[in-house]
């Protein structure tokens, strides 16, 4: 039973608008001679976005309740893909994250985020009645720990953090006792020093340690690891109140930023559109997140509610952490800015999640009291 009148046009319009804005920014960057971004970047992004929109419309029409029964097989599939990446992945910047599928170099950790949302939502929705038991919570950890371990091994600290954020968001909304979450938090905090020492000893993970140290003191290595941290600050700062307007953002234009099409696209935008522009962009993101939260409230069943919550925490975490990273408030962890950063897997996954949200909205049931 679908009700198209429930279709949320803001949930279509805002992502589409942000994607178009992102393509425009990528196009502008590609025109700067020193950026290292070619015209193929915005073209690819537009192509990926079309895929994403198609998938979004398909999922809008697809009953999300069917996803509940598909969740575990899909999740298992994503774990397999992560395993394939580890086995024969394509490396970039020292990390194995991609599988080459010809036109789209697939980054399985991106769909893995959404498929984790599907699986965790099912898991918690199925265990509504035992949600307050410790064993339910413990078992749920396996859903997240396995992909986290595989993603960390790539190594990709940022995506691992997103997976953890998804678990926190869904668990929180599913009603896991705060006491349990506090205990888990304490265990993690206790394990941190061990993890820190471990990072230093495994060559693959040393970069994470470097990035965290650099976050605390970028000047320690201003031309190496601290480079982008310092330059994103200069870039954002030179944007000023009104920005330098497109085609004139000197810092980004001169190739002073690296990965300006992906992780640091926010700095480029901030330099171009300035404080006022960034405020508007912020507002748009906040409205978008609010609309996602609304889906969570509107949802007629636990599964839908938890799905929306998971998507909300996934996108909220990514948005805040990416912008925080650009503003020097978060360590550099390679998390894309949803809908804007260049990346096929990321944009398709994000748009697909909006399809699921619409599907929930179309099928949500009005609050109906029992007769008598």
């Amino acid at each position: 039973m679908k009700h198209w009148r429930n279709f949320d046009f803001q949930l279509l319009g805002i992502p589409a608008g942000l994607v178009m804005f992102g393509v425009f920014v990528l196009f502008a960057i590609s025109r700067w001679p020193t950026s290292g971004v070619t015209i193929s970047t915005p073209l690819h992004q537009a192509l990926y976005a079309s895929f994403g929109l198609a998938l979004m419309l398909f999922l809008t029409n697809f009953d999300y309740r069917l996803l509940r029964s598909l969740a575990y097989p899909l999740f298992a599939g994503s774990l397999m893909l992560l395993g394939v990446v580890l086995a024969l992945g394509h490396s970039a910047n020292g990390a194995q994250r991609w599988i080459n599928l010809g036109i789209l170099p697939l980054q399985p950790s991106e769909p893995a985020k959404l498929l984790l949302v599907l699986a965790l939502a099912k898991y918690f929705a199925d265990r509504e009645r035992t949600i307050e038991s410790g064993s339910t919570v413990m078992l749920s950890l396996f859903f997240v720990l396995i992909p986290v371990a595989m993603v960390l091994a790539q190594p990709d600290l940022g995506t691992s953090a997103v997976l953890v954020a998804i678990w926190i968001g869904i668990a929180l909304m599913a009603g896991v006792r705060l006491k349990h979450m506090a205990i888990l938090g304490a265990v993690c905090a206790a394990a941190l020093p061990l993890a820190w020492i471990g990072m230093g000893h495994v060559k693959r993970f040393q970069y994470m340690q470097t990035r965290l140290t650099i976050f605390l003191n970028p000047q320690q290595d201003p031309l190496g690891a601290g480079y982008n941290v310092i330059h994103s600050q200069i870039t954002v700062g030179s944007g000023g109140f009104l920005g330098q307007h497109f085609q004139q953002g000197t810092q980004s234009q001169l190739g002073l930023l690296r990965v300006e099409d992906k992780d640091f696209i926010f700095s480029v935008i901030a330099e171009q559109i300035g404080f006022v522009g960034v405020l508007v962009l912020f507002a748009v993101f906040v409205v978008l997140l609010m609309r996602i939260a609304r889906v969570s409230f509107m949802s007629g069943d636990s599964y839908g509610r938890l799905l929306a919550s998971g998507i909300l925490s996934m996108l909220m975490f990514q948005t805040f952490v990416n912008i925080g990273m650009n503003l020097g408030l978060m360590p550099v962890t390679g998390i894309p800015l949803p809908l804007i950063s260049y990346g096929g897997s990321s944009i398709i996954t994000t748009l697909a999640s909006f399809g699921i949200l619409q599907s929930i909205l179309l099928r949500h049931q009005k609050l109906v009291f029992a007769p008598g």
Binding site: R129, E132, M173, G237, S238, G240, Q253, F320
Partner: protein
Amino acid sequence: MLESGVSQTKSRGRSSATRTKSVPARPVGRKRSQRPKTTVVRPRALERTQAPARESRPLVVLIFMVFAASALMARLVFWQVMQHSALTRRANVEHAGLYVQPPSRGLIYDSSGVQLATDVTQNQVYAFPRQIKDARKTANLVAPVLKLSFTRLLDLFTGDNPSLLLASNVPKSVSQKIIDLSLPGIVLGPQIKRYYPQGTVASQILGFVDTANAGQYGLEQYYNSYLSGHAGVRSVLRDTAGNNIQVGTSASPSHNGGNLQLTLDRTVQGLVEDELHKAIKVHHADGGTILVMEPSTGAVLGMASAPSFNPNTYGTVRDSSLFVNPAVQSQYEPGSTFKIITMAAGLDSHVITPTTSFDDTGSFYVTHDYTVHNWNMSGFGIENMTQVLQHSANVGASWVAQQLGTDRFYRYVKAFQFGHPTGIDLANEAPGTLPLPGDRVWTIDNLYANSYGQGLAVTPIQMIRAVAAVANGGMLVKPHIVKAMEYNGVVHPIQPVSLGRVISRQTARTLTNMLVHSAVGGEAAAALIKGYNIAAKTGTANIPSPTGGYIPGATIASIVGFAPAFHPRFVVLVILRHPRDTLYGSIAAAPVMHDLFGELFMHYNVPPIANAVNK
């Protein structure tokens, strides 16, 4: 039971406060599952509120969102509003700068347009790793061409630096290989280098340009600011590697250097250098200098010394004294050639005439510890002044100096401007050494020693300029080597500078006549060419020892002269330092002048005359 169940559900749905009142114990999962199932179909929306603690959860999320957004906002305000100007300054320091636009250095060419110094463009090899498609393949191909290590290149190509300078000053063969490879991300950039197409020719005249683009020695130094021009200043934007990306508005435009056209003739210079090297080889001399000048204008036609260097490879020269141009920077005791000056003074003061005679006994008593002797230690008997020149008699020169007296002798020596730089347009000219009466080192001995060219030091350019004044009818000129300065396509010819008369026209003519006649059958005979009047005087000077006195058995053999004597076109000075097979200018230097005049007459088409003294 049924009723209460419904009412409980309703009340919980309204507020959690009501619920905690109606249900005293906090429900746990186990208890809830024990609760009896009702048959009422409860709306799902209400069912989810069964775990009431969750109601605050969206609030937690909202608070987190507000907190995170505020933190980001605060940071944004801090960076983009409060720190904006400071960060912009930092950005400007990083990528904006003043780009000094290098001007192109002026050319130097000879009197007929042969290039002696020019700029050539060489290449630098840059890499832009972001444009490199296959770093491994690129590094593999580039490494052998640039002789760099493969692993180092691969590191650079896969590193973070967006642009790299791989090699400077690469030869054409290498840049051609780079072009042939045509690898994306590997590009050539131009680099300008000073080049001397004639190699060693005129090297000591030209000098060279050092790595800081400053002219060193010779013309490059003397005319440095003119040749180098003025750098322009432009505001630019720079990328991370410091490369200029966008050349902005020009604060001051660059002015290219001006060109120099020399009086020097490449052909004459070649003849001069060949003759010099030949003579040095034949006589096993330590070195030497030859000067060819146009007497009426002071224009230098040829100027060479040996040993010299190649300015294209000045960096490999171990002995920096090779950069020095001895023709203007070294001084020597001229010896008998200076008797021309003594005679000029005597004639011009009317104390002698060409036919004035005296009895040359072979020695001339000055003081009890200084007696002048002739070079052959014997007297020539009664001789006139022309014969004094012919015999190159020191006693005769001393006798003339005695007739002149100290005041008049030095008045003439000073009039010929010995002891002062000639002002030729070449760097670091030496002034010569001329002790004068009144100086602490001057004694009466100096007067007589000076009369035959010892006890004073001159530069070759001073000597030839003095003789040119005789050739020139008594007018002293300022020697120069630049004929015209060409700036922005406009040619500014350099006018010869006359420094006024030093001896009368009559004296000059009389002296010329004496020199022409004395040469015939005299010391300078080997320099003569049939059909041409050549005024010449040889010199054989002792070389002062650094420890005092003179070096025994070592001489500077020289000859100075001009031709055709009564319509002089060239004045030539030949100096050979320490020839091993002979002591004398008459033997070592005179034949060089003979050959050189012969070649000059041919090159400049100077015909012989029928009534020449030397038939």
